[in-house]
């Protein structure tokens, strides 16, 4: 309880946001998702289920809306006035797919409203959820504009993995009990493993060392995961990642609510960035025939 702590933390905050720097972050994990490449196959969603011990809740609970898909594929049908006379049943003309996962917002609206500080921002740029601390008030989920947080309405572990299916569970992370919020963590267990491995080998983390389950599984390579910090802090010592290059190419920047782009061909955008959530995922708009 010292004044020194108060002043130190205050200046850390000031350096972080106002100078547009994230200067003392280690990494800034981000993604680029190409909606042109996405075919809506749901492989990423299933990989997420497998990697993160997500429970399959069954048809009845799913239809009631109590499912646990951290990464969900959203389907939107195009409206007829795009040039079609009637809504097409065919995918290549009718549907759009958007894989939605936690955007790991730098100015996350879910973080300040948790009453027990169960969600916070890590120096990696991730929005962390601490299952042990969560008391299940569900305010964070209500405050997420993307509605990307999921709640354990039941103790799913009781029915979802009858023996011997429980052997498939990933030992690197926990199985959550009822009453706890959860969401996509950018496979933080893989990030930890990757960082530890690099530290043991005495080198920096390189691009491609760490892959999230969804990025690994996507058959078309629509999801790219990597470290964005190099864009903002070239002295950070992290190699320029593919993701950072894509962000730079599409002229999408962190810390802004509206991007200035030179040409409309640059397809990158962030969802709901006008709400000032500052998300770390860039979506590349689908190219359409006009």
């Amino acid at each position: 309880m010292s004044l020194k702590n108060i002043f130190e933390d205050w200046s850390r905050y000031r350096r972080g946001r106002e100078e547009g720097g994230f200067q003392d972050y280690e990494f800034m994990w981000g993604m680029a998702i190409d909606l042109n490449k996405c075919i809506g196959c749901n492989a990423c969603s299933i990989a997420c289920y497998a990697e993160n011990n997500l429970a399959v809740v069954g048809k009845e609970r799913f239809s009631k809306g109590q499912a646990m898909h951290w990464l969900r594929l959203e389907r939107y049908w195009d409206e007829p006035d795009l040039g079609e006379e009637r809504v097409s049943n065919y995918q290549h003309l009718g549907a759009s797919f958007v894989p939605m996962l936690c955007q790991q917002c730098n100015a996350a609206t879910c973080e300040p409203v948790c009453p027990v500080a169960a969600t916070y921002h890590t120096p990696d740029g991730l929005n962390a959820q601490v299952y042990n601390r969560c008391i299940g008030s569900r305010y964070c989920s209500n405050n997420c504009p993307y509605r990307l947080r999921y709640f354990n309405f039941y103790s799913y572990y009781e029915d979802s993995w009858p023996s011997p299916l429980h052997m498939q569970l990933n030992p690197d992370l926990s199985v959550r009990d009822k009453g706890v919020m959860e969401k996509c963590t950018f496979c933080v267990q893989r990030i930890r493993t990757g960082k530890d491995k690099a530290a043991r080998e005495g080198r920096q983390v390189e691009d491609g060392d760490i892959q999230t389950a969804c990025a690994q599984t996507c058959p078309t390579g629509a999801i790219t995961f990597g470290d964005l910090l190099n864009i903002y802090n070239p002295a950070s010592g992290n190699a320029d990642s593919k993701t950072a290059q894509m962000w730079r190419k599409h002229q999408v920047e962190l810390g802004k609510t509206k991007q200035n782009k030179q040409t409309p061909d640059l397809r990158g955008y962030r969802i709901f960035e006008s709400l000032n959530t500052d998300p770390c995922i860039m979506f590349l708009e689908r190219v359409r025939e006009v």
Binding site: R61, K64, G65, Q66, A67, R72, E74, Y76, V98, M100, T109, P112, V113, C114, P115, V116, A117, R133, C134, I135, G136, S137, R138, Y139, S141, N142, N143, P145, Y146, R147, Y150, F151, N152, F153, Y154, S155, K178, G179, V180, M181, F272, L275
Partner: protein
């Protein structure tokens, strides 16, 4: 037909007798009321045990409807608690003495509503056994609650409000508890002796009492406003359309005063009938309460209209779509019912015939509260059903678990209130005496002039020394 707020000729001994009689051994009607309350409460206890064991799923809570009736009822009960503050503190400061016969049960209603409301944050969170983490305490890990969160502000505010209103109620009761002490025997005498803290009514005690009561009333008014503003900031501080509205603090406070006044009307009628308090809870006082309710209803209606018009005139498409959904979407029957009960029904209180008709007022006050409960529900659910993200559009209806717990909260409140009216006088005896005293003296000019003599007034025959001491 009563025409005056109170009959000035009531003997003070009669006041004591009438009010103490309400605390005697209860008759069959009271036991039936207790049985009904316990019955309702048992619903809630059963449903909560089920929910504790299985999880929040059976309540039909889902993604995106993470909050539902529990939060709505929580806000309803906190709102109802503003009645006591309004009647007691505000009317005390402006010296409206018609509050004197009715403020005791109103303050009790405040305290018990808060005790009921305080149960809901515990019930609605997923891991309620860890509820105490919301409170700031020194932990060996140096972990504190997140003070930025409006839910933690709720915890602070409700604790403060509950403590302050309970103390306000208790301190206001001390002279009455002294009267009870003087008239009790057995275990009751010991209880009242303890509770009345040695009150004997000397001027030193009255002087400090008056100062204390006024100070507490002055604290309680900004506290009530701030508590409900903080509760409204659960919504206003979020980002959701329909919630992130700047008029929410005054809107919630107005709604709270509204439902509190309607609840006062209901309890007024019940107490007046069952305890035969017609001489104290008179019709003119009821008429004043009705007028107050009507005025607050109009404030609430205005704040609703403001919210609708500013959304309608604005450029926020998401908020506009939500507003239209409230009026025409799946929840619209309840929304229109809320508007009817909240804005149209209070106009009946503008008619004098209805204001003096007790059965009509009983029904109207209950319906007004139904309207206010619907209002809380219509704040929580339509926003969550639409929110920002189109993929998250969903319509959800609460399940039996939620309804049972909501019903049971009324049983809990009823139980607390019923126990209260038998242990503590529900009409403030000393304040009624004060009311009569002041009205009698206002009416009688002679006594008034004798009483308020000043030093400089000289009257013949009073300057001579007292007999017996002339020689001393």
């Amino acid at each position: 037909m009563q025409t005056k707020d109170i009959n000035e000729d009531i003997k003070w001994a009669q006041i004591n007798k009438d009010v103490l009689r309400s605390m005697e051994n209860p008759r069959i009607g009271y036991w039936i009321a207790i049985a009904v309350s316990l019955f309702l409460l048992s619903f809630a206890i059963g449903a909560e045990i089920y929910q504790y064991n299985v999880g929040m799923g059976p309540a039909n809570l889902n993604w995106p409807h993470m909050w539902d009736l529990y939060i709505a009822t929580f806000i309803f009960w906190i709102g109802m608690s503003h009645s006591g503050t309004l009647l007691s503190a505000i009317l005390h400061i402006i010296q409206a003495d018609w509050r004197k016969p009715i403020y005791r049960f109103a303050e009790a209603m405040t305290t018990f509503s808060l005790m009921t409301a305080g149960l809901f944050p515990i019930i609605h969170i997923g891991r309620l056994w860890n509820m105490y983490w919301v409170l700031p305490y020194f932990s060996d890990r140096g972990i504190w609650p997140n003070f930025r969160s409006p839910l933690v502000w709720d915890a602070f505010a409700i604790t403060t409000y509950l403590t302050s209103s309970a103390l306000f109620l208790f301190i206001g009761m001390i002279p009455d508890l002294a009267i009870c002490r003087d008239n009790a025997r057995g275990w009751r005498k010991q209880l009242y002796t303890l509770l009345s803290l040695g009150w004997r009514g000397d001027d030193r005690q009255w002087r400090n009492f008056r100062r204390t009561y006024m100070l507490m009333a002055c604290f309680l008014i900004p506290l009530a406003v701030s508590v409900h503003s903080i509760v409204s900031s659960d919504f206003a501080m979020s980002i959701m359309p329909g919630w992130h509205v700047t008029t929410f603090p005054p809107y919630f406070v107005a709604g709270a005063l509204y439902s509190g006044c309607a609840a006062i009307m209901t309890l007024f009628i019940l107490l007046r009938y069952f305890f035969r308090f017609e001489a104290y809870m008179t019709m003119p006082i009821m008429v004043k309460t009705c007028k107050l309710t009507f005025a607050i209803a109009m404030v609430w209606t205005y704040l609703n209209l403001i919210e609708f018009s500013s959304i309608w005139y604005g450029h926020d498409e998401v908020a506009k779509e939500l507003l239209l959904a409230k009026f025409t979407g799946p929840y619209s029957p309840y929304f229109w019912a809320m508007l009817f009960f909240g804005s149209v029904l209070p106009f009946t209180l503008a008619f004098e015939k209805i204001r003096n008709n007790i059965p009509a007022l009983f029904v109207i006050s209950l319906l007004l509260n139904v309207g206010m409960w619907l209002e809380r529900w219509m704040i929580v659910t339509p926003t969550l059903s639409l929110s920002y993200h189109p993929f998250a559009f969903d319509v959800m209806w609460p399940s039996w678990v939620q309804w049972f717990i909501v019903l049971g909260s009324f049983g809990w409140f009823g139980l607390l209130f019923l126990v209260f009216v038998k242990i503590v006088p529900s009409v403030s005896m000393y304040e009624v005496k004060e009311m009569i005293f002041h009205r009698r003296h206002l009416a009688n000019k002679d006594i008034a002039s004798v009483m308020h003599r000043r030093e400089s007034d000289r009257q013949s025959g009073t300057d001579a020394p007292a007999p017996g001491l002339e020689g001393a």
